[in-house]
Subunit: 372 residues, 2 copies
């Protein structure tokens, strides 16, 4: 038996919130090519980012994202390092600093809060909605907030990974105001009307690849707003003008991301097909929660339940610990919820196979029956 075959049989269903499960077929391709990228005579890890073989891989990843998301030429697609967190600063450095305007934030979870903290270093940034009083279990309705017509931008997080709160569609935003979204944990889970956005970004390590690369989709006219005195790595125009090779990009992370995007397009059939699967997967778990007579209590309100991160609590911390320990014996891993919400978080990104969700669902049903 080869090493790869023996290892594969030990694989668990991995519900990690990120870095997270990847399609096994992608991992196998990466494995096959590890010593020698076809045509290179070297590993992808070893070749220059200026090598045509890598530049083609980078362009292919951009093009696959463009075709999946329907991104027009009015937008730049950039790959950056520094995670989603670097974007918290970059967005404000490029679009707020020195603008004389104010940036407006909708806070529906932990990541929005971290983002506004960085924006405040760069200028006037205000939360025009904050769901903290209900521990971030809900979204604003249209009457809960008003966006200024001359705001620098409106910022929101389309899927709060920790709370499991997802916007079903874009929040209202005046045409004059660039809409900015942290889509780190839900980009590529469903179609997105990109032309409604000024800037949309996602770190790859949840739904699109390994840690180490962040996708930034930015309306090109906004590139000119920033002061060229912005620290170079934060200045989007450097990345755009050099097609993500202003400096050495994270070549391996981009390569894997490109393979995941191709898997999504060619094996899954695109974002509509993916959304359908994601709805089936998440619905099946929410149904078990709702049918458990209160044994499982979902954290997010029903109208904003995430397709990606299913968050729920059990009757006690002891039962939560028992759930996690027993789940492990069923090859169900990384289910512990974040401390700010407690309980369980099952992250079921695109690459989580139906079989994993079914195994978890059956386990949840059995566990509730035995302990309820």
């Amino acid at each position: 038996m080869t090493a790869s075959a023996s290892s594969a049989t030990n694989r668990v269903f991995n519900f990690s919130a990120g870095p997270a499960a990847l399609p096994e077929s992608v991992l196998r391709e990466v494995q096959d090519e590890m010593l020698c990228l076809p045509g290179a005579g070297a590993s992808l890890l070893e070749i220059s980012h200026r090598d045509k073989l890598f530049v083609d891989i980078l362009h292919d990843a951009q093009d696959t994202l463009r075709s999946l998301l329907g991104i027009s030429e009015d937008y730049s697609v950039m790959f950056m390092q520094g995670g989603a967190t670097l974007q918290f600063s970059a967005i404000a450095a490029n679009l707020l600093r020195g603008s004389g305007k104010r940036a407006e934030y909708l806070l529906t979870g932990s990541w929005g809060k971290k983002a506004i903290a960085e924006a405040k270093k760069e200028g006037d940034a205000v939360a025009i909605y904050d769901a903290k009083e209900t521990n971030y279990d809900r979204l604003p309705t249209a009457s809960d907030y008003t966006v200024s017509d001359d705001a620098a931008y409106l910022y929101y997080c389309s899927n709060e990974t920790i709370q499991g709160v997802q916007y079903p569609s874009e929040p209202d935003c005046p045409d004059s105001v660039p809409l900015v979204s942290d889509a780190s944990s839900d980009l590529l889970c469903r179609p997105v009307p990109v032309d409604r956005y000024g800037l949309l970004y996602a770190c790859a390590q949840k739904n699109a690849g390994p840690a180490g690369v962040t996708m930034v989709v930015m309306r090109k006219d906004l590139l000119e707003r920033a002061d060229p005195n912005t620290p170079g790595y934060l200045y989007y125009k450097n990345h755009h003008d050099n097609d993500s090779e202003w400096n050495t990009p994270p070549t391996f992370a981009i390569y894997v991301l490109g393979k995941v995007a191709r898997w999504l397009r060619d094996e899954i059939g695109g974002l509509e097909a993916m959304e359908k699967i994601n709805r089936e997967k998440s619905d099946s778990l929410y149904k078990i929660i709702d049918g458990s007579n209160g044994f499982y209590r979902g954290h997010a309100q029903q109208d904003c339940r995430s397709l990606m991160n299913v968050t729920f609590n059990l009757p006690s911390d002891d039962l939560t610990a028992k759930f996690i320990a027993e789940a492990a014996t069923h090859r169900l891993a990384a289910l512990k919820g974040h401390r700010s919400v407690g309980g369980i978080r099952a992250s079921i990104y695109n690459a989580m196979p139906r079989e994993g969700v079914e195994t978890l669902g059956q386990f949840m049903t059995d566990f509730a029956a035995a302990n309820g």
Copy 2:
């Protein structure tokens, strides 16, 4: 024949300046573990950065670097994203911005020039030596520059990758001034007296691993100098206080870096042994250059020839093109020099096997005989 065996036979000798050759034994380990990191039930690419398995890998990488370089507990060892280029800004944002002092730079090649351009955005940064008139072929002597006793820091690049100019040892620097070095292309090629430095950093993709991670070794007392209002990702204290997990680190790049560091310690035997091999490798090529009756002309002056990047010119552009084309038929790849120097650059980092250098040396001798 397995996929890996068949690929391995196609491998070339890769003289890329970065990303660059990695030890084949490391690539094989990565390949074996791609589907299942031992103990994880998942790929390293898929597990959380908070997973104990990964945290142990991160600590092991830090500890191996500490033991290789003799880094004391007075220093923090951090892993960051954004490449060496992000450090150009981070250093100045942390140590210059708002200090009322001036930063002093020794410019001995292309990378120092890029670094000072970013520093100028943050405050008063001055080149106290600049070798541009001789197209960066030399180092300053002690009488060529004077460092102010109250400078914010003295910055230099220990090995200019493009020009192939390397400092044989640290430049003179008053004790009161933190010495800062971009060691991107020579860290780990030889022992370094770390305690002479305020800050020492290197992107991994030359001598230590894949693109996507940068090692930062910083004297802990300097961590307090920066204004907490510095953009979060640039603020070293965030990375130090959270042991490189302030946000999601580039897990795969750190994992490979750790394996390369272990290879260096356990298979090579540490930095003194490595330096000896690197001297043998580079000396053998410089000897051929010097013995070629002027057919090959080294770019760097003799006293600052790089152990890592051997740069030389041929009599004409036509012969350079012919050299590169014929070299390829001997499985010698990525030898083209950077446009600012022209000619040939053979990057012979730690992982370039002796056999690769011997093959190149023999080819150079034969090529000179046939075309001289």
